[in-house]
Every structure is written in structure tokens, then in C-alpha cells.
Symmetry: D2
Subunit: 322 residues, 4 copies
Amino acid sequence: PEVRGIADVDVGAARRLAGEIGVSRVSDDCRELLAAPDIDAVLVCSSTDTHADVVIDAATAGKQIFCEKPLDLDLGRIDAALAAVRRAGVRLMLGFNRRFDPDFRRVRDAVAAGAVGRPELLRITSRDPSPPPAEYVKRSGGMFLDMTIHDFDMARFVMDDEVEEVFVAAANLVDPAIGAAGDVDTAAIVLRFASGAIGTIDNSRRAVYGYDQRIEVFGSAGMVANANRTPHTAVHADASGFHAALPLNFFMERYSEAYAIELAAFVAALRAGTEPPVGGEDGRRAIVIGKAAGMSVKSGRPVRLSEVEATTAATAATGALA
Amino acid sequence: PEVRGIADVDVGAARRLAGEIGVSRVSDDCRELLAAPDIDAVLVCSSTDTHADVVIDAATAGKQIFCEKPLDLDLGRIDAALAAVRRAGVRLMLGFNRRFDPDFRRVRDAVAAGAVGRPELLRITSRDPSPPPAEYVKRSGGMFLDMTIHDFDMARFVMDDEVEEVFVAAANLVDPAIGAAGDVDTAAIVLRFASGAIGTIDNSRRAVYGYDQRIEVFGSAGMVANANRTPHTAVHADASGFHAALPLNFFMERYSEAYAIELAAFVAALRAGTEPPVGGEDGRRAIVIGKAAGMSVKSGRPVRLSEVEATTAATAATGALA
Amino acid sequence: PEVRGIADVDVGAARRLAGEIGVSRVSDDCRELLAAPDIDAVLVCSSTDTHADVVIDAATAGKQIFCEKPLDLDLGRIDAALAAVRRAGVRLMLGFNRRFDPDFRRVRDAVAAGAVGRPELLRITSRDPSPPPAEYVKRSGGMFLDMTIHDFDMARFVMDDEVEEVFVAAANLVDPAIGAAGDVDTAAIVLRFASGAIGTIDNSRRAVYGYDQRIEVFGSAGMVANANRTPHTAVHADASGFHAALPLNFFMERYSEAYAIELAAFVAALRAGTEPPVGGEDGRRAIVIGKAAGMSVKSGRPVRLSEVEATTAATAATGALA
Amino acid sequence: PEVRGIADVDVGAARRLAGEIGVSRVSDDCRELLAAPDIDAVLVCSSTDTHADVVIDAATAGKQIFCEKPLDLDLGRIDAALAAVRRAGVRLMLGFNRRFDPDFRRVRDAVAAGAVGRPELLRITSRDPSPPPAEYVKRSGGMFLDMTIHDFDMARFVMDDEVEEVFVAAANLVDPAIGAAGDVDTAAIVLRFASGAIGTIDNSRRAVYGYDQRIEVFGSAGMVANANRTPHTAVHADASGFHAALPLNFFMERYSEAYAIELAAFVAALRAGTEPPVGGEDGRRAIVIGKAAGMSVKSGRPVRLSEVEATTAATAATGALA
């Protein structure tokens, strides 16, 4: 595969990247590139609020599509985008990069191979090294749709199961500005799966020791869990103890290998003419879980995913009436 | 300290133990020993339903008391026992043995010393190697009052904080007989603390790899966590992987050191004339959390501890009227 | 088994210990106790230079004998003691306590069970937390006969093989007073076994992080290795790294369990009427390896154990002539 | 930097690689490329016996040179090549790739920063997953010049010290064909450093659990050690134990990152006009240690590096006379 063009509303940024990787076509309007007949597929990496429109335009132009998560924060717009993709008969892959991390992949493969028997408990620890600016939090849809969404997708992926109910206990402990922006930065989440299995996720926007990304699946025949990756394995012992390295600090270091594998998987699926390994429906479901999480925080009780769908349908109906 | 007598309703069992450790006084009625003027303190290790009565009798007899958890399953009877202890002016220590485990103690000491800053998230994993008979489950008060009660106490201990609300997602996945007896065997529990911190506990009655007892406290300045103890540290590598030992199988192995330290702490407190390190109120609070957990399972929503107290007061009032 | 008497040239020390453990018979002369008909077995824990004489006296008195290592530093005196034991038909167990450490035992059992196939390489790390006084070094026979002797015995034990040749590269890096006393405090030792396998031992009299006691056996089908034991398993993460506990500091902590198992094995062998698990010949062989190590340091070349025996025989012959 | 041409006596192989990476100039004679004025630097990756000639030709042509280890197996030819490089005033970097491995680099940096105080003991474990064909062993100069040479260089690198004496206990335990070819496949090596520190290396040509590459440096103030890298961090627990991944299988996986860093360091040194981080003298010294190791195996005694130099000088003198 070859990069044939780069579009960015900040055309200077597009030019810099194009220069670095030796690409000649640059634009400030992605529709210009979508019109190019020598472009087969597009990577949609723009800001979240543009994803749905770009995906619809790309699908309409007959391009194969890789879109960074989330597809959109609004289920109606997600459904519109998915419908456009279906109508156009193109492929859409959602950028849940962690599915391609070798450690998580190994956990999932072990579960799929029956290494833990029937999965009964899932435990995800997902803590960022430091919080984003409160400004970002406002636009991103909040912690559940921006950060935890990866964990919701991972829960479905490693368990090969669907979430039915979500309960959240959340708090604003890290940065008051995040609270002022109406969001939380610390949470414990309980998931109920269709199979009867139960999962927990714990999130924090600030782990001073770095990016903490661990998964554990426990079942009738055992347990499988990964550990964090470190930049080196050296351990130093002195009179005060044994000292080991911090984890790789954030997603650019932790998931660099995953990003490469992810793109290779997208290309491989296009070449084979098969469905990409993460589809639009996966993107939608993670958003539904995230919305249920938000509703749980507001209501202080567990929320079933069917309630999110019902609310959406009701809103859509109201919208239709208005 | 010297063991001066052993009472057991199964007097044969009392005689066997007395023979092993060289004790001459044996009885099938503990009140006989409670009447002995040369006995200063008693260890109440009988079945749960007798604890409150024996504690009341022992307190009335002026003995110092160590009582295995739980004091009782009924808050009214617990309060009666605690009142008897207070009236008699004797000391009462509750047998939360895990507080004396060197690993958990280290975790708690690190938290108390500020090593994690302000505690924000607690994570307790507590899984038994294999389920008890369903018959036992019926008499024991169920998983929350029999097994998780240790975790509830541990939560208070390591966080040095009070639980205010409990949410439970539980299931009967391990043994149908446990479900038939009206209990659960798998659970994810969310705790809210007075400080605003949040905790999770995950429980299973069956971990095929052995007794899984881990605690992690995460806070504004870091994290502290223990690992399971193993009978040996040897690792074996062959063409299929690296293989390490299972954890110590169950509480008799895992907590053998804790039991010894616990009794020494009881004796030391009596000699120093100070309050024992785990008091009757600690025993009561763990029961209240356990009852809230049960109410959460029944109601499907988070339950505040104040609701348990209100229910108890109402029941007591009804009882007073009757 | 019951302790029936304690003899110590420092009779005050004997009295203090007797008081602690409730023993009434105390003496400043062990021969007094050896004459007692109600004593079946003796534990010889006096200073090294007295071991051979006490063992001979005890054997002559028909007592079963546990003797702390080494039996003696002189092979002629060792042989005399072993002959006395044989003549008397009593059992003699040598106190190589590390054979009873659960971790080393597991390594050895794995090797014996074929888990590593044919053993090819052995690696022992044996480092003390801090050096003994130079005064002690002079009397103890030096590092090889006092400290490394445990590693020499362990090499024979885990490999179930005999050492044939020893090469040592040693130095005085830790404490100049040890060098002034004619000894070394740092060494790398290479062992050649009868089977063709090769082993290394590295020693230091000072590991600032504590007692470092690790063994690794590598063979045609894999590897088995232990790790150091720590007082707790808690790990603390902060912005500077992950921090874990130091090993148990020295032999009293590291091998407390081994000492208890060792004595139980002695008693069990006596009761069963079988050979104790560590015999006089084991004690002798470790000394021969230690002497070969000393000869290697002096000569700067590898030394075969047969050279030690030849030297001893020559000395004995000379002594016989004199 | 840009690859401007590829030469290989197997010109088909050169063409395939050129096609893969988009290079147009291909030759079966490296002298053709050495004559090209638009080529600044060359990577010498041909078979060992051609290294010296190609380096001399490249130096004469004024090219900057990266040469895979070893420069040659003959000290006379190494000296001739180094002299040619000096005369030409070009830079020469030797391909000791392990110096660029992040784990070993961290160990070395910790030692250089004083984290272990004065280094006293070094321990290198270096075991290949499976032996090379005996045919290769014959041409490669044998285990010490082909495999252990990396460890000899690593010893100098992490200790920042020079080896003065080598003792080897070696055996042919893995493959009889290796023995028939006059080589060994299993070894324990003791190094004496100029500082007085002591090191051990253990080697095997076959570790069934994969490539075992560990270093430990122990000193007056502590210890630093690395662990093996694994393809994933997942651990699986079942009723038989805890199971973890094998190490990355061999040098292509283990050192892929190191190779990239190594080449970047070569380019960076050329651009900065500084000496490359591994020079010709480093290549020569590792060979001298390797030859001393071979002499130790033959003679059964420790060999000083000065003996190797004396032998070489004598041979050179004889050669000059002949």
C-alpha cells in the first residue's frame, strides 16, 4: 500500500507530514482526495465531530474506510454513517488499536482457546499517566466516550460476549477543572455480560507511575492476565530495595506495535476482500456502553443497554416529530 | 500465656487437642471454664451461632475475649454482645486474621505512610480454591457474611476509611447447589468510601489455581500491591514455557503466619492493658457492609449502609412492640 | 522428641536457654550429658574445633548424633570421627541445613525428576549480606570452609553428582582486614562434575541488598531456578519506578523453615532406623572440595579432588612416621 | 542516509534485496561499489573470512566502514585491516549489536552511573536456542570466536574494564558432531579484570526454552541485572501452575531493536564526525579474549591475554623469518 495524499484543515500540518514521508498530494479539503480515482482507501484521523461526515462522504465516493474511534458521539449519526457504508458496499474498520496489542491479543486468544474454561470474571485496569486539559474533556464526550470506550471494546473483545448492563461509581478526584467541566476522572465500573459473566473496569486519569493497562480473565478452568510493558527489563538492587522500570509512559509508546499491526490488518482485509477485524457495529456498541455508563453516573443505578437504545429511539422519534 | 483448658460440645475433640498440646482441663461446657478463677482470657472459636452467647457469658465472667469472626449474623445480637463487653469492662478482639498477614500489613502500612498519596481506588481480589458444601453455605449466612466479610474488613483496614455504599453484581456460576441454597458464588462489588475513594472486590468460590488473595491501593502519588504467596519460588523452563508454583492453597497455609501474629497481638494488648487491634465495632461494621451487599443483590441497586441501620432499627422497634 | 539437657562451656548461656525452653538438666561439660542413659541422641552445635572430639565421645557413648557442619577442618580428624561413628554403629547427620530449604529442595527434586533432562550447567549465587569479623575468618578455616562449603554441598545435592575438579578466581575486595587475615571475600568458582557437567559458584561476603541465595540448573531439556525469599510481596510504584522488598536478610531468617525441617528429618530417620539424609561422608566431601578450592587460589590453576586426597595421605604418612 | 547499492557474490540475492527495498545498483563485486564516488559509507556483512580484505579495500577507497564482527579470526590480518583504516583516516565501527540492546544498555548505564558502586562480580548467561551445523562451527572459528565473542565484548562494555586472564571449563555435551569438528558446545568461563573484578560467563549451544541472554553486575553498593524479553507478557494459571511465555527465540527477534539503534548510531557518528561507539580495537580485543579462551581449553589452565599477544608476535616473527 502507498500513501497517495494527505488532507488536513491545517494544510501546513499536512504539508509537513507529506514532506516527511514523501507524499506529493496535499489538500485542506478531504473531499478533494475522495474524488481521486487512484485512491482506494482512506484513513479517517480527523477530530471526532467530523468522523461521521467524512465516513459518509468516503463511502459515497466508494472508498474503503479506516476510521479512528469513535465514529461519533451521537447514535443517530453513527447509524446514518453505518447505513451509508452499507449502501455503498464498502468496508469500514474502526480504530480500536488495543485489539492488536500482542499482550491483549494473547489474553484474548487464550480465552478463545478455552484456557480459562468458561469466563466468569473480567478485570480491566486502565489508567492514564496524566489527565487531558479540561477543554479537551468537554469536546471529547467525557471520560467514558473518550478513554473508557477502549476498555468497553476490550471487554467485548476478550470475553467474546455482549455487555447488557453497566453500573458506575465515579468521582472527580484528580483535577477540579475536569469536575467543573462536568466530567469525572476516577471510576469503578461493573459490567454484566449476556453469558452471565461479570466484569470490572477501574479508571483513573492520572497514574503517576505511567500508563497502566492490564487485563485479567478468570474462569472455571483458570486465569490469564497480562502485565505492563516496560522500556527495559533491568532491575537494580541497593540497600533500600529492588527497583524496576516504570511502564511505557502512554499510548504512543505502549501501542506503537499495535498501531502497525492494526493498519496491516486493515490492508490485509481489503486485499483478501474480507470484513476488517473491527467493524462499524463494534464502534457503535462501545458507544452504547459508554452512554449507559454516563446514565449510570447520573442516575446512581445500573443501566441496561436496552435503555440507551430506547432513549435513542425516543429522541429520534421526537426529532422526527419536531 | 498458657492454655489452661479446652471446652468443646464434642468433648472427644477437646480431649484430642488437649492431649496434643498438654492441657489437662477439658469440658463439654464452656461455662465450666468461664467459672475458673485462674483463667484470664478466652478464645471463642465455636460455631458462629454461639459466638454472641459465649461472648456475653465470658464478659459477664470478667474474662478478656478473643472471638472468631463473625460475632453474629444479627445486628441486634451483636449489639447485645458489645453492650455486655462494655458493661463488664473487658477487652474484646475480633478474629480478622488477614490484618496480621505480613503482605497485607505492608500494603496497609505503605498507604498509612502516604506512599500512594491520597487513596483513590482500592482493588481486592479474593477467590477461594473450591466452594464449601451448599449445606455450610446455608448456615454461614452466605458468601458476603462468611467469605467476603474478610474483604470488607480489609477494605476498611487498608484504606483507613469507612464504607458508605455498596453495589453488587453477583451470580451463581460455580455450583448450582449453592444457587439452590439461595446464595451466589461469584461477585463483583463496588464500595464507596466516606473520603470519596472507590473500591472493587471480586470474589469467586472456585479458583482452580488456588487461593487468590491480592490487594491493590492506588492513589494520587502511586500504587501498592501484594502478590500471592507460593510454597516455593522455583521456576521451571522447558520447550513449552516458564512454569511457576501455584499459590498456597487455602487459608490454613496462606495465613498460618497471620494466625500466630494475631494471637500474639491479642496477648500483647492484654498485657499492655490497651485496646486490641481489632475491636467489636470492626466486627459489627463488616457485618453491616455484608448485609448491604445482600440487599444490593436483592434490589439490583447500590445500598447505603445507613439503610441497613434503618432496617435494623425498624426491626428492633417492631420487635419491641411485639 | 524432648530436649533432656543442655551443655555449654558457657554454663550461663546453657542456663538461659534451658530456662526459655523448660529444660532442667544443664552442664558445662557435655560428657556429663553423654553419660546419661535417658539421652538417645545429641545435637552438636559447639565451635568447629570441638566437633570431632564431641562426635567421637558421643559415638563411644552410643548416642545418635546430629553435628553442625563442618565436622572438622582436618581430613585426618574427620576420618577418625567417621571411624568412631562406624565402630559404634550409631547414626551421624551433618547439618547442611540448606538441603531442607523448600526452594532448593524443589530445584533438586525437579532435577532428580528429569525436568531439565541431563544436567549440563549449574549456577550458584551465594552472597552474604555483610562480612564476619576478620577474627572469625581466621578461626573458621576461611571463606571456602566456612561459607562456600554450603554451596559445595548444594552442588553435590542438586546435581546428584560428584565434583572432580575445582578452579577458583578469588580476590579481597570487601574488607582489607580479611585480606590481612590471609583470606579472600570475593570469588568465582568453576566445578567439574564426574558426569561431565560444569558448575559455577559466585561468592561475596557483602551484598548490600541482603542474603543472595540462588541456584539454577540447566540441562538438555530445560532449566530450573529459585528466587530469593522476601519478608513480604508488596510492590510500591511511584513516579520513580517499581520498588520491591529486599531478600530476607541472613540465614536465621532465610533458613528458619529449613532448620525446623532438618531437625524433623533427623528425628524421623532415627525413629525409622534409616540413614539420616545427610551423612558424615557428605560432610567430608564438602571439606575436600573446599580444600581443593584453597589449593586453586594458592596455585592459580584448577585442582583435582584426588590431589587433596593424595596430599592428605602424604601428610598422614609423614605424621605416622614422625 | 540512503542505500545506494548492494553487492553480493550471490548476485541473485543482491537483486532480491535490492528489489525489496527499492535500490537500483547491484553487483557481484563489492569493489565496483567501492569505486562509486556517490557512496560515502559501506556496511560489510559478508562472510567472516572476507571482512579484512573488504575493510582494507573500503578504507583505501576512502569509505566510512561498518563491519560485522569479527573483523577476522587472525590477529595479524586484523592488525593489517586496522592499520589500513588508520592510514586512510576513515571511521570503522564493529558490529557488536548487543551493546545497543536497551536492556544491556540500561545495565551498563547503571554501572557507569555508580548504581552498583565498585563492580566486583559480573555474570553473563548466554545460551543459544539450538546449535549451528557442525559444518558452520568449523568455518566460524569455533564457539569462542563465533558465539562467546559477543559475551567477551559485553564483559568489557558493561564493566568498562579490560580482561587480563581467562579460564575455561568446556565440554561437548550437546551435539557429538560439534565435538567431532573439534569444538565445544558448553562452557563456564572465568574472567579476571584489570580492576580486580571477576566475571563468569556460561554458554550453551542449546537452550530448549529459547535464547537466554542475561547479565548481572554486582558491586560494593548493589546489583543490576536484566531479564529475557518475551513476545508477550500474558501469564496463564491453571490447576498445574502459572505459565509464562518463552523468551524471544533468537537474535533476529531478540535484537531487532538493537540492530536498528546500532545502524542509527553509526550514521549519527559519521554525521557528527566523531568516533563510532564500537571501534576496531574493540573488535580486536574480543578476538584476543576468544583466543585466550581457546588456549585455556587446550592447556587446562588460566591464560593471560599477554600470552596471546606474545604467541601472535612470535608467530608473526616466525612468519617474517620464513
